[in-house]
Each structure stands twice: as structure tokens, then as C-alpha cells.
Symmetry: C3
Subunit: 263 residues, 3 copies
């Protein structure tokens, strides 16, 4: 018996409206057996880069064959394409605007197709809600076992966005805050890999007017103290044990974070 197909959704739709539920209705109309999972729907509106990073942080924890639908889509209704892709044993359905950039950077796709085949979309495609009329049905068909290649012609010129990268300095790295999570942790674009050339013993992380040590986990910092650590997705984050680093420091997305290592 095949494992039950999984369709996982990531959007900037929020949950206050019927939009996400309606997309799920469409998926189940095509593939009633699918298990539906929300990654998040609280990507800041139209923030493609944020969506790209969140998707990349999550997808590898899903069963092989999972179909991801990622709709952060400032260009809905324009001529930008819709695409579907296979990478690392997973499927992805999204507008062709770079929201798959970070996934593809980690796992190059084996096939990317332009969603031109109308019979895998709804009969009428709203120009303001392609998530419902184009992306959800395509995901449903993939979950149901349709071959990726039947959804449209292969392409090789998909859109990639430039995700901001930290830069090396004389004694370390300067990066920035890419995301503030629910706990007020400041998650940067500085990865453990990028830091591997640095001597992080006794390194300090500087953010706003604070200079904080790098620890192994939140609990190593005294209660009420700031610390920095490599978090669950491999990014350096600044945290406050028992509180919100974002509030304490008054720092948000785009804030500068520097690592100063020992020479």
C-alpha cells in the first residue's frame, strides 16, 4: 500500500479569510485521500524572500513525495508563469517568482514545468486567486499520482531571487535579521557553514548596542539575558532566555547582526 499523499501549504493568505480553506477544498476535490498540512500562512504579505526561507526550513522534515504548494504572489493575475517542480524527492507548486529559490539552492530540481496544461486547472481561473484555481488543483493532481511532465512543458529559465547573504569582515561576518519568530528570536542569514572558518570560541555577536556570547541552547543563558546560538534550521539567532530579543533590542527584520570571532 502506498503511503497516504501529503499536501503541505505555505502562503501569505493569513487565516482570517476563507482563502486557505477553499484551496484545501479544491485539493480534496481532486485527491480526497490527501493529508493536508499547513506550514504557515502568515508569511508577511507578498514577501517572497521570507516565504522562500520558511519553505526551505521545513520541507526536508516531510515524507518523501510530499507536494508543497507555496503561494506568495505579488504578481497574481499578471503574465508571470505558474510552475511545478521535483527536487530531492519532493514536489513543489508555486508562482514562478523565486519563492522556490532557497529550496532549489539546497536541492537542485530534476524537472521544472510551466503549468500550461489547462486540464489540471479549474475550468475558470480567477485572475486574483490562482492559488485556488491553478496551484491547488495542480497539487491535487500530483498528490493523486499524475506525472509532473503532464502538467506542462519543461523549462529551465525559472525565476530566482537574490537572497541577502552575509559578508565577511576582517574578524568575522556581518549579516542581517531575516525573520523574527513568535518568541521574539531574531533569526539571521548567518549559517553555521558560513561561520565554519571562524574561531567561534569566545566570539561575540553584536546587535544594536548589545554584545552577546554564542551558546548551545537558550537555557545556557541566565534568565533575562541575551544570547546567540545556531537554531534548529542552522541559522544564527539572537534570543532572550525567558523573553523576546526583538522587544528588548528594538530590532526587527533587516537589523544588522555581526559576528566578531577571535583571530
Amino acid at each position: 500500500m502506498m503511503a497516504r499523499p501529503v499536501v503541505a501549504l505555505l502562503t501569505d493568505f493569513g487565516l482570517q479569510d476563507h482563502y486557505v480553506g477553499t484551496m484545501k477544498g479544491v485539493v480534496l476535490s481532486v485527491c480526497s485521500d490527501a493529508a493536508l498540512v499547513d506550514i504557515t500562512h502568515h508569511i508577511p504579505p507578498q514577501d517572497v524572500a521570507w516565504g522562500a526561507l520558511e519553505l526551505a526550513a521545513a520541507y526536508e522534515y516531510f515524507p518523501g513525495g510530499t507536494v508543497f504548494v507555496a503561494v506568495v504572489d505579488p504578481g497574481v493575475g499578471s503574465s508571470r508563469r505558474g510552475i511545478a517542480a521535483e527536487a530531492g524527492g519532493y514536489y513543489f507548486v508555486a508562482p514562478d517568482n523565486g519563492v522556490l529559490t532557497q529550496v532549489f539552492a539546497q536541492t537542485p530540481p530534476t524537472l521544472v514545468v510551466d503549468l500550461q496544461e489547462r486540464k489540471f486547472a479549474r475550468h475558470t481561473i480567477s485572475r486574483t486567486f490562482e492559488g485556488r484555481d491553478r496551484f491547488a488543483p495542480a497539487a491535487g493532481w500530483l498528490a493523486r499520482g499524475a506525472a509532473l511532465a503532464v502538467l506542462g512543458p519543461a523549462i529551465s529559465d525559472w525565476v530566482t531571487i537574490q537572497l541577502r547573504q552575509p559578508r565577511h569582515t576582517g574578524d568575522g561576518l556581518v549579516g542581517e535579521v531575516m525573520r523574527v519568530d513568535r518568541f521574539g528570536n531574531l533569526i539571521t542569514n548567518i549559517t553555521r557553514e558560513r561561520s565554519s572558518r571562524l574561531n567561534l570560541i569566545a566570539a561575540r555577536v553584536e546587535v544594536a548596542d548589545a554584545s552577546v556570547p554564542i551558546v548551545g541552547t537558550y537555557a545556557e543563558a541566565p534568565a533575562g539575558e541575551l544570547c546567540a546560538l545556531f537554531g534548529s534550521s542552522g541559522y544564527l539567532e539572537v534570543a532572550l532566555n525567558g523573553g523576546s530579543a526583538a522587544e528588548r533590542l528594538g530590532v526587527g527584520r533587516g537589523g544588522v547582526v555581526a559576528v566578531r570571532a577571535l583571530p
Copy 2:
């Protein structure tokens, strides 16, 4: 093989409390096979009209046979009835307070019953949480295949609410904002059908002190500019390309929106 039954929920319960999860536990206790989908739980507290419109915007995108549970219920614990209905090949379970008004306007029900049969409810029915004790089990039984008629006697005097309708003016329509969505789009009660007698070429939509053109999709408006369009549910909405029309205009629910067409 029968398709897996779907139970879709719409409430004003929010997600901060255990209420929605508990209802789902009850549904699964009756019908462990059900696929559970949230339409939204962020209907403004006790706003039956808003709930009625959101449900109507979503239900037709679900598989035939889906059971919808719609609980926006200012009269919980009072003598208002609970009802279940069949319309358009779907099932609906709700308090009898008009939350099904717009669905029934689009698709007249074939049968509506008063949920009197206690054996399809929980043994004890909380007077403050009928969603858990009466509506969720009824939905579970319908999902499991119980006939609608066994849930209680047929009725024909269900409650209907008056949803505010736009009115015709000399050169157009005057309606109002029924809902503000996550993106700050102002969704009005003006439908494409109601507008069909108007010559919309070069029509203008007036809201607050702005006069905006009608376009086909958001992307047709220049970035940072307001526009109006018929959205994914068929209602005229006022949008800001790349931002929130609600914020820009300072307009919210109940705000007046006029369409002025060419003669």
C-alpha cells in the same frame, strides 16, 4: 470505494483557545475517517452576516458530500434551534440564526431538519458550547453516513437574515464594504451580476475621497495605486497594488462604495 468524508469548519472561535480542537476531537470520535478542514475561525465574534458570506464564498470548492459546520452563535444556550440541511449536494450543520442565509440564497436546500434527536448529540449538552456537544457530533454522524432525516424533524421556517444589498442610483450602484481581508482589500456587496446592466467601460468606483478605475487584476494597477476589480468570489473589491487599501483609505467594514458607470 467511497471518497473519504470531509468535515469543514467555520466559526468565530479564533484559534487561541482549545474550542476548535475540541470540536474536531468530537467529530473524529464519531467518524475517525473524516478529513477535517478549517475554512476560517476568525469570523468577528458573533457576526452572523460575515460568517454567512464567508461560508457561501467557500463551500462550492469542496468535494460533493462535504459536511460544513458553521458556528457563529450569539444565541448559544438560548432556545434557538440547531439545524442541519442538505443543499447542492452538501450538508450543513449550524445554529438556526441565519448563518446559512447566503448559501441557501445561492442553492435552495432540499431538506432542513431541527437537531432534536438527542442520540446524535453528546450525552450532556453544555449551554455555552453547543458547537462541541451538538453540532460537532451531528456533523460526525453525517460524515459517517447517517441520513439527514434521522437527526430530527423537517422544518420549513428556518431563520433568514437580511444581508445588506447595494441599491441602484441614477448612474450606478451604491454598496458597502462587507469584509476587509488579510491584504487590506475592501470586499463589497456589489456583485458582477448586479452590475451587469451597467456600462462598466470607463466606470469609476468611489470610496472615501478616492475615485478609482475598474481593472481585471491587481497587477494592472501601477504599484502603490488603488484599483477596483471583481474578486475571486464575484464581489467588487477595492485594492491597493502592493499594499492595504483599508489602511490607505481609512475605510473598514460598512464603508460606502459607489460605482458610477457611463450612461
Copy 3:
């Protein structure tokens, strides 16, 4: 045929990040057949007591055998243990920090184990996200039918927290607000059982500078009036018919609520 296994999640992770979705991906990677249900993810950050009460309010409404994963975990990454337990025909997976206190008070566990067996965790365990790497896989294995005893050695010294209890006064009880729900209802720690010795006929509930009657359901209070009642989980709550008692009274978590009964 066995009923489909259910895994129900309660965390303080919120929904803005990928964290909950990622945990679900891990559960499905172990047990693709599981039905996933959210109880809530909006427990106030690191508020173990609040989580303990919400879990206890919900679990009995789920099918027997349901696996609950409760992650409110200020000590993530520290030496605190992870545990799994069986109580009342249900399974629980959680950090050993007292988040199961109220469930165990209602239903003493038959077996509690320390999650030491690494083969039921992910290969690498992040020190900041044990929900993903330790608790979610353990829940998946239990859902898949693994015996509780294989997850680790039995323990009897699990952590319990002191949940604040109301105290008896000359003519009644003095308790406090434990939770404010979405509707602004003030949910106290005063239970119907604790009140059973009181003559509640004509009793008054005092909160801030208001004195309100005890009614059977919200609808018994005139619109715009405050009332008190025993809610759906058995706790006394203060409500405002058609509005938010929390806003009206300016009272939140920890606010004092007194019941003054007739002698």
C-alpha cells in the same frame, strides 16, 4: 479495521513560523496514516500552567488512543527530560516540566516513561527544537502502534507544578482568572465541584468593582450586561453578553474573582 490514529498538538509556537508544520511533517514521516489535529498553538509563550489547563480541558473529547503532544517548554535544550505517558486510554508526549499536571490530576497515569530510547527520535536532536526532533517522532511511533514501554524506562518522579487553587472564605471562595478566551470571557480556577458546598442561589460574583449574578448561559444576561456562569469545561467564568468582559472590566490573567454565597 483499526480506527485511524489521531495525533493532537498543543504548543506555544504560534502559527506564524514553520515550527508546527514541521512537527507535523515529522509525525507523518513516521505514521503517514495519522489524523493531525491542532488543539491550540497560542498558549502564551512558556506558560506551562496555561498549557496544562487547556490540554486538560480538551483531551477527553478525543477518540480513545489519541496521542497528545504538548510542547510548552521554557527548558528546551536543558537537562530536563522528555516523557511519554498513558492515562485514561490516551497517550501524552511532553517535556517533563509539569505541562501534564492537570491531566494527571484528573486521570492518574498508568505508565510514564523517560524518552531515552534514541531510535524513536530523529538522528540529530536540535537543542532548540526538541518538538521536532524528539517529541514529534515519539508521537508518530505511538500513533503507529509502538508500545509505550519501548520508548524508555518507566519513571515515577515526573515533575508536577502547583496550579493555583481558589481558597474558601467565610461566605464563599476567592479564585483568580486563569485564562481570557477569544470572546473576552474571564475563565477562573473556581470549579463547580469546589463550589458544591455553597448555596449559589442568589450568590454574587465579585470582580473588579462589579457584582454579577450566576446564570445558566450567556443568553440569560441582558445584552450588554455582565454575568457569571460555569462554562463548558466546568470553570466559573465571567462573561459579557454581546461583548468582552475582559475589556469592560479591565481584568486579565491573575485578576481576583470572588464568589459570595448566601449563608
